[in-house]
Each structure stands twice: as C-alpha cells, then as structure tokens.
Symmetry: C2
Subunit: 335 residues, 2 copies
C-alpha cells in the first residue's frame, strides 16, 4: 500500500501538501494538485475516508437536498447532481442526494445525526425554511439558487433575470411583438429562479409596450403536447414563445406539429434554461439558453467545501448567465 | 404534542400496533395501517426518527446505490428512486441516493460508518462486486435488478427476457421479418437487464430463422438523432426497430423524420422499457413496453425493509413484466 510519504516523494512536495489535497483541508494550486493526483494514480494510493472520519469526527459526506417527492428531477437537475458528485469525488468526498423539501423536520435527522459534513440546497425558494433550519442546527451549507435576501449566505445561481430578458430581446430583435411565456404549473410562485424569470419577462414586455401573456403548463411532456395542440386556437396573436419548462418542451413541439403549427415559420420557440440533451430531442432541434448546470454543480460543491475548510473567508457568491445556443426553432414572424 | 398513546386511542388499536406502524418493525394489515395513519394525521403526530435512532442504534436511512458517475440517470431511473423514496417516507424511513458503482471501496464508508440501515442496489450486473462487498460487511440489502445467480438474495426485477421476446413477437405478428435491435453503447455487456434482453432478442430472431441485427447507440438524444439520420442508408432491409435506450428514443425519431423516413409507414419503432413521459415527447407518440418503475421502486424498498424487520423470512424475489402501451409508431411493413 502506497502511503502519503510515497506520494509526496513521487510528486516532489511535502507530506503536508499531500494531506491538504487528500483531505481538502487547505487549497493548493491547480498545478500542485494535478501533480499530487498524478502521483496518487501512479502509485495506486487509496484514500481512507473511514479512518479520516474516525480521526476528525467528520464523515466527508455532503448531502444535496432536492425535493424529489415534490418536483420531478429534470435532466438538467440530474446534471447539477452528477457534476457536484464528480467534484466531490475529486476532493475526496461523497455526495448523496437527499429528497428533503418542505418536510424540514428531516433536516433535524440530517443535522443531529452527524451523518453529513455539509449540505447543498437546490430548488431554493425566495423564502426557504430549509435555510433557517440548517442555520439553527449549525450545518455548513451552500445554495444552488438563492433566497430573496442571500446576504452573507454562500450561493451559486443562474442569472435568470438577465437570461429571461435576453430571451425576450432576442425574439423582439427578430421582429416579434407578441411573445408569450410558458411556465411550470405547480411550481410555487416563490421558487427563486421561476419568480425572477417571470418578473424579468413582465418587465421586458412592459418596456416594449406589449402585454405579458403567461401560460401555465404542468411539468410533463403530455401537458406540453396538449398545450401545443391547442396553442394556436387559444393564443392566435402569439408569434413566439419563451418556455421555462424543460419537461414540457419536446411534447410542446410534438403537439404543435400535430396541430399543423409550423416551427419556426408560424411560431418561434426559445427554451430558457435547457441543455443539448433536451434540445436535440425535437424536430426541428430547439433553440435554447443553456443552463450552466455542470458549472453550477461544481461551484456549488466548492461553495460548501469552503465553509468546511475556510469558514472565516467571505462566502462564495456567484451568478452565472445562461448561454444562447442557436437551433432551428427561431425565425422572423410571418408577414 | 400527540403521543403514541393518543394515536392508539384515536385509532382503537394497541400502543404496540402504533409502534409497529411508526417503526416498521412488524407488518400490520393495510386497513389497520390506514386507521393508524389517519389518526396520526388528525392528531398531528410526528415521528421522532432521531430519538428512535438513538434508542436502537439505527438511523432509519436506506441508501439507493446508483452509479450516476458512470451512467446518466434516465427519467425511468428517477421514477424508481422517487417511488422508493415515497414508500420509505410512508414507512418512517429516509431514502437517499448514493452514487456508488464500480468504486466499491465506498461501500466500506457506507457500511462501517453505520450511516444507513440498508441498501437498495440498482444497475445490477450479472457479476456485481457490490453484492459481495455488502454481504461481507453485513449490510442488509435488496437488488432492483439481479445477478446471474441471485439464489437466496432478495430482488425485484423487470422480466426483460419475456419483454424483449414480446417486443419481437408483436412486430413479427404485424408481418415484419427484418427487425433490428438498438442497444445502449457503453453499457457493459454484463449489465443484467441489457444482457438478458439482447439474448432474448437473439433467440427470438433465431426462432424465426432471421438474422439478429444489433445496433449500438450512445445514451444521448444526439446519438439517437445521428442514428436516425443514417439509419435507412445503413440498414436498408430493416422495417422495424426494437429500442432499449431511453435516452436516444426521442432523438432517433427526430433524426428519422429529418432523413425523410416515415414512422410507422417506412419503419416501425417499439421502445422497450420506457414510460409515458418519454413516449409523449415524440411525433408520432411512441409505442412502448412500459417499465414497471414505480412498482419496482416500492417493492425494492419493501424487499430491503423485510431484511430489517423479518430477517429470518425467505427473501422477497419478484419478476415483473413490462406492459405494452400502444402508440402510433407501429404498423405492418410496406408492400
């Protein structure tokens, strides 16, 4: 069995530096980390997380809280989890998914049991009771998303206001004047990303002197299909749609096709907060604003790790915009 | 705060019966359970899992092991997890998702840390090292899926052999003689469901005196789209496809449409192991054999709970077939 000393010699660094890398207890430069990790791989060095947990009272387990019993995990949400889990593994941690939502009494189990060293919150509401429950229990945490007032609390989030505005402006620049907005029915209005995006859409419409048309749609392809089939009848003036409902997107396109609505000739569709995975499912392929899911998953893990390793530093707070990815579902309006 | 005694009085049962329901320590009839749970709701009775864990050395946490770092969680896999988590909650347990795959050293962390009372395995291989690792560590577990020889080990699984055979026979009955099979590239051949399904396809083709055409496709809609676009050129004789690759299904249909291949007139498509969620994404809606995901999630939890509450009973072993759901992607071959 290779030891930390062996790794240190091979990498040409001190044993302390190897320990920093193995235990994530202090930051080292990327170059040094790479050298240490190469040496660990070459020597077949294996971390011993159980020993470490026994030694310092930590489990090296981080829980990502996602309310799966209240909201279906989308492919994009899976990407957050997977990238955070991969980052955790790189840092010598385990990341688990814990389905805790509005059932905050379960945070007591999690906190008092000493099962996890820290927590990442997802699906954060503007006023989220989980934040207070974690703070009261002194559980280190970071949010992917953010509350109405996140001062002093670590978070990484999508800049949904900027992205929703960009969606509107891109369609307006093509000549669209009647731009509708499809949101996820059943998502409570105080869901941070949803609330900020709707508000930005309303403001953009107002700035253009146009009405806001907000259309609810359940988070399921069947609901998207049904909306697509009746869309032209119910919204005859709309020439473009912004869609913040990843579950419904492919169904919506299928339903529009069934109803004889041509995309983009008759209707432009821009999916807000989506991924190549969802966009390539449809015919034609969706134009979308890409959710920075992998980036936010990694940063979310880094943000909570910082609470463990450098609790006195200012908390990480980062806003990332979505990135526009052209597809074949946007064009100028007819006529 | 309502006590167990209050609940027992309201429900008209003994305190012991309430305890059986609260702690899942013994089975009661569904009717009795319903009466006790109604009483708990009416009185606002709250379980105290922390107290229970302290009292009996158990955490009332079950881990579902899914190798998310090796294989993308599909919507159907999410359904397994969600239904198992819901069942766990009903029984007073928490279910967490732990991304452990071939990295079995992490099972030591899980086992020796005493973090979880039991484990559900998913994505089980014919020869799965996690099974031995759990057994050696005396961790109660059940499989969703099964190894090559699961004697004595609790499992619930899809009857993939029967379902693949049914898929072939349904297409053959329509008159198809050249039926291809698209599988998930990158899934190791010893993945139980995948191996059993391929084998049944080969046998069905042989029984009809027809060749087996196995086509790999990566687990992503883009790969499905690319396959759809080149399908007719590469497989000019095929008039039907069985698809065991949920990630690729909607992309495949989109790619076929792009290439001018009409479904079902030119090519029938039958998705094996899918859900209404995926099927309603496409135009036309997919014909599919429905994965009994919610049922298996619940049964999987029951199977591991039985190991905790009645370890001397014979382990639960159950095989559930997929159920055919007609869509608009199957027809007789042309000519």
């Amino acid at each position: 069995m290779a030891t930390m000393r062996d790794v240190a010699e091979r990498a040409g660094v001190s044993i302390a530096t190897v320990s920093f890398v193995v235990n994530g207890t202090k930051r080292v430069t990327d170059a040094t980390r790479a050298r240490v990790e190469d040496a660990m791989r070459e020597l077949g060095f294996r971390r011993n997380p159980v020993g470490a947990a026994l030694a310092n009272g930590r489990t090296r387990i981080i829980a990502l809280l996602f309310p799966t019993l209240e909201r279906t995990l989308s492919h994009t949400a899976v990407a957050f989890f997977t990238s955070a889990a991969r980052r955790a593994r790189e840092r010598g941690y385990d990341l688990i998914l814990w389905p805790i939502g509005s059932d905050i009494e379960h945070i007591d189990v999690l906190a008092r049991g000493g099962l996890v060293d820290g927590v990442i919150l997802m699906e954060v509401k503007l006023d989220d009771p989980r934040v207070a429950a974690l703070a009261v229990n002194h559980v280190p945490f970071a949010m992917i998303g953010r509350t109405a007032d996140p001062s002093g609390v670590p978070y990484v989030d999508i800049d949904m206001a900027t992205s929703a505005r960009e969606a509107y402006e891109r369609l307006a620049a093509l000549g669209h004047r009647d731009i509708a907005y499809v949101y996820s029915e059943g998502v409570q209005y105080d869901h941070g990303a949803d609330a900020r995006s709707r508000q930005a859409y309303r403001e953009a419409a107002a700035a253009h002197g146009r009405p806001a048309t907000l259309i609810p749609c359940a988070e399921h392809p069947t609901a998207g299909r049904e909306l697509g089939e009746r869309f032209a009848a119910e919204h005859p003036d709309a020439t473009a749609v912004i869609l913040l409902n990843e579950h419904a997107a492919p169904g919506l396109l299928a339903g529009l096709a069934q109803a004889g609505v041509r995309v983009p000739q008759d209707l432009s569709v821009l999916s807000l907060g989506s991924s190549a995975y969802m966009a390539s499912m449809t015919d034609p392929p969706l134009s979308y604003l890409r959710t920075p899911g992998p980036e936010l998953g990694e940063l979310g893990f880094d943000a909570v790790l910082q609470r463990l390793t450098a609790p006195d530093e200012a908390p990480m707070q980062a806003l990332l915009p979505c990135e526009y990815v052209p597809g074949d579902t946007m064009a100028a309006p007819r006529g």
